[in-house]
């Protein structure tokens, strides 16, 4: 009974393996942010946000290859792309400060007022975040007196679990394999 309870608690404490966040949705705020920037409302009734610096969501647990999609919008003042990075989670307090990351997607956006979905993956991130370890998804915005980065709203991360090396077999199947 005690072991079952521990197992249940441990399972519930596991970080999520996927992400589905929209800056326009209440409660989906990034885990850390630099300074907020301009907000754009488009004629498609969509809201896109800019920042000066980094925003990130974490922790996520690596269970296999990931696909990242980001909904972006660019307009006449857009000067720079958005850099989406995977950051191995060593010190969570530094994710928006000085933890170096690895670029997985450079999003340039388009002028479509309903947003553009830009996707990368499936990609193997285990060289920087081995299976079972935690990582952050970070978006790097760049700003300039006369222009900003591409703006964004939603970001999604989907994971494809790697098959466990310990496969499940029935006793009959094992007997068949080793006959």
């Amino acid at each position: 009974m005690t072991i079952w309870a521990f197992a249940a608690v441990a399972a519930s404490a596991q970080p999520p393996t996927e992400l589905d966040k929209c800056l326009s949705r209440s409660g989906d705020d990034p885990t850390c942010t630099d300074i907020g920037g301009p907000i754009t409302f488009t004629e498609c009734n969509q809201r896109f946000e800019n920042f000066f610096g980094r925003i990130a969501w974490y922790p996520l647990q690596c269970i296999g290859p990931i696909t990242i999609s980001i909904e972006t919008y660019a307009h006449w003042e857009t000067r720079f792309p958005l850099y989406v990075e995977v950051v191995p989670l060593r010190d969570p307090t530094e994710v928006c400060e000085n933890s170096p990351g690895f670029v997985v997607l450079v999003a340039r956006g388009s002028g479509d007022p309903c947003g553009t979905s830009e996707t990368a993956g499936p990609m193997d991130i285990t060289s920087v975040a081995p299976i079972g370890t935690s990582y952050a998804i970070r978006v790097f915005f760049l700003g300039h007196p006369t222009g900003d980065s591409t703006a964004m709203d939603c970001i999604r991360v989907t994971a494809q679990p790697v098959a466990s090396p310990i496969d499940q077999h029935t006793w009959a199947s094992v007997k068949t394999i080793y006959r």
Binding site: F52, P100, F102, V103, D124, S127, F140, G143
Partner: protein, 197 residues
């Protein structure tokens, strides 16, 4: 006696603060390598150039201690792009350090405004790229205020096909900031009276 001691501490603090503020440099000249004067998020990776010049790759940011804004500045960086595939530019950012808690020490991860996007010289020995003279007030640094410079580097996930040749920001060698102080002319009282007659 205690009051005198307290006053002494206050005076010493003010004098020290003024001396520190007065000693902030207004210009910068620094090159990557063993005697580099910047702080960084990651260790540098040496890139050899055929012409004997050395350039370094980084991940994250490198930054310098604060400078004082005494007038428009010209910012120049020497970079090298020797890759056959996609590379990222080097973003040079200006960050005002106008709040008392900002300090003047060397610190990365402070954010800021892009002042220069260096694409990297492809010729032997790299190339200098410059911007300026620029008015730092447009970057949130009023005259007399402190600011610092940061360079932002990007790099993709380590590749399995060509390890060590991941697309990354162009190689960095040197940075130079030259200041063009605003002139305040000396005038005699007679001259001032002439001007405002």
């Amino acid at each position: 006696m205690r009051s005198v001691g307290l006053k002494l501490v206050v005076v010493v603090t003010i004098v020290t603060a003024r001396l520190c503020a007065a000693q902030l440099p207004t210009e910068l000249e620094d090159c990557a390598g063993p005697s580099a004067d910047f702080c960084s998020d990651s260790t540098a990776v040496l890139m050899e150039d055929d012409c004997g010049e050395t350039f370094y790759r980084h991940r994250g940011e490198i930054a310098w201690a604060a400078l004082k804004n005494v007038g428009p500045v010209t910012i120049s960086v020497k970079t090298l792009d020797r890759r056959f595939y996609m590379t990222f530019p080097l973003y040079v950012m200006v960050r005002g350090r106008t709040n008392p808690t900002d300090g003047t020490d060397c610190r990365t991860g402070m954010g800021g405004h892009v002042a220069l996007v260096a694409l990297g010289g492809q010729q032997c020995g790299g190339a200098w790229e410059s911007v300026g003279p620029i008015d730092l007030a447009r970057y949130g640094v009023p005259p007399g205020a402190n600011y610092s410079l940061q360079c932002v580097f990007f790099e993709t996930l380590p590749g399995t096909i060509f390890p060590g040749l991941e697309p990354s920001t162009v190689g960095f060698s040197c940075i130079r900031v030259t200041s063009h102080p605003l002139q305040t002319g000396d005038a005699s009282w007679a001259h001032v009276k002439t001007l405002f007659r």
